[in-house]
């Protein structure tokens, strides 16, 4: 079954909404967000900190094969309600992009399927567009593909 990820970015607004339906029970979808070792696998990043609770925080870091840090981000957890909602901030370090606010809503569609709705609020509509254009400008998908090749070669 193909379940496509949808992205809504209305003009003139400073937020985006990403929705995705999963062929997974709600419990497993939520575990993919709550357990550090699982987050590391699907986000392909190292989890330095994941303190999932109100007033908690997180920090992720990605290094290239030479050991240089290519990505580091952190944030504060404002709400952590299991199998329901995570509210957190997201800030990429050393990039000049302002912090953004993320609302992640988890819901069960059936016993075996679930849905994630992720609303990201940016400081301004301009900041939103700059951020959205980042993978477009940097060819992030290509970089992601290359990373995948590297990982596959190690197996």
């Amino acid at each position: 079954m193909e379940r496509k990820t949808k992205l809504k970015a209305e003009e003139g607004r400073q937020d985006i909404v990403i929705t995705r339906e999963f062929d997974l029970p709600l419990e497993l979808l939520f575990r993919a967000y709550s357990e550090a070792e699982i987050v590391e696998q699907w986000m392909t990043t190292k989890v330095l900190k994941l303190d999932n609770r109100a007033h908690g925080g997180w920090q992720f870091e990605t290094k290239d094969p030479q050991g240089n840090v290519v990505f580091r981000a952190n944030g504060t957890i404002h709400e952590f309600t299991p199998e329901k909602r995570i509210t957190r901030t997201f800030e990429m370090e050393n990039t000049g992009f302002p912090v953004q606010l993320e609302f992640l809503d988890f819901e069960a569609l059936s016993d075996d399927t679930s849905k994630l709705t992720m609303q990201i609020v940016y400081r301004s509509a301009e900041d939103r567009n700059r951020m959205l254009k980042l993978p477009f400008a940097a060819g992030m998908n290509k970089a992601h593909d290359r990373l995948q090749e590297v990982v596959n070669a190690l197996k």
């Binding site: 949808k6 995705r20 999963f22 497993l28 979808l29 993978p135 477009f136 060819g139």
Partner: protein, 107 residues
């Protein structure tokens, strides 16, 4: 001022979006476009200049008149710019889904 116009800044303005909608169906002169707005003619001219500079509009000389029409390639570029970002998340979520299928629910 010699700023390179940002196409996303251009479409953030409601009047400029209205202009794009107007000329979407057929090419129009500056006068015909301005007749649709209460704003002063020079203001509309400024909007047309910005839209032309960022290549969303193209000018075409027909006799003594200049007609403005939409540049469909540039419009497509805007629609496409979201795609890499959506793909990025689609890849991550596909991965999440395949990883989590190996786990069993505790319930």
């Amino acid at each position: 001022m010699n700023l390179r116009r940002d196409v996303f800044q251009a479409i953030a303005d409601p009047t400029r979006r209205a202009i794009l909608l107007l000329v979407a169906s057929h090419a129009m002169t500056a006068g015909a476009i301005a007749a649709n707005f209460d704003t002063a003619r020079p203001t509309v001219s400024k909007h047309l200049q910005i839209l032309t500079e960022c290549e969303l509009l193209e000018q075409e000389q027909q006799g003594r008149e200049i007609y403005y029409h939409l540049n469909p390639n540039k419009m497509k570029e805007i629609a496409d710019f979201l795609e890499p970002f959506r793909n990025l998340w689609d890849d991550r979520f596909n991965k999440l889904e395949s990883i989590m299928k190996k786990y069993k629910t505790k319930k």
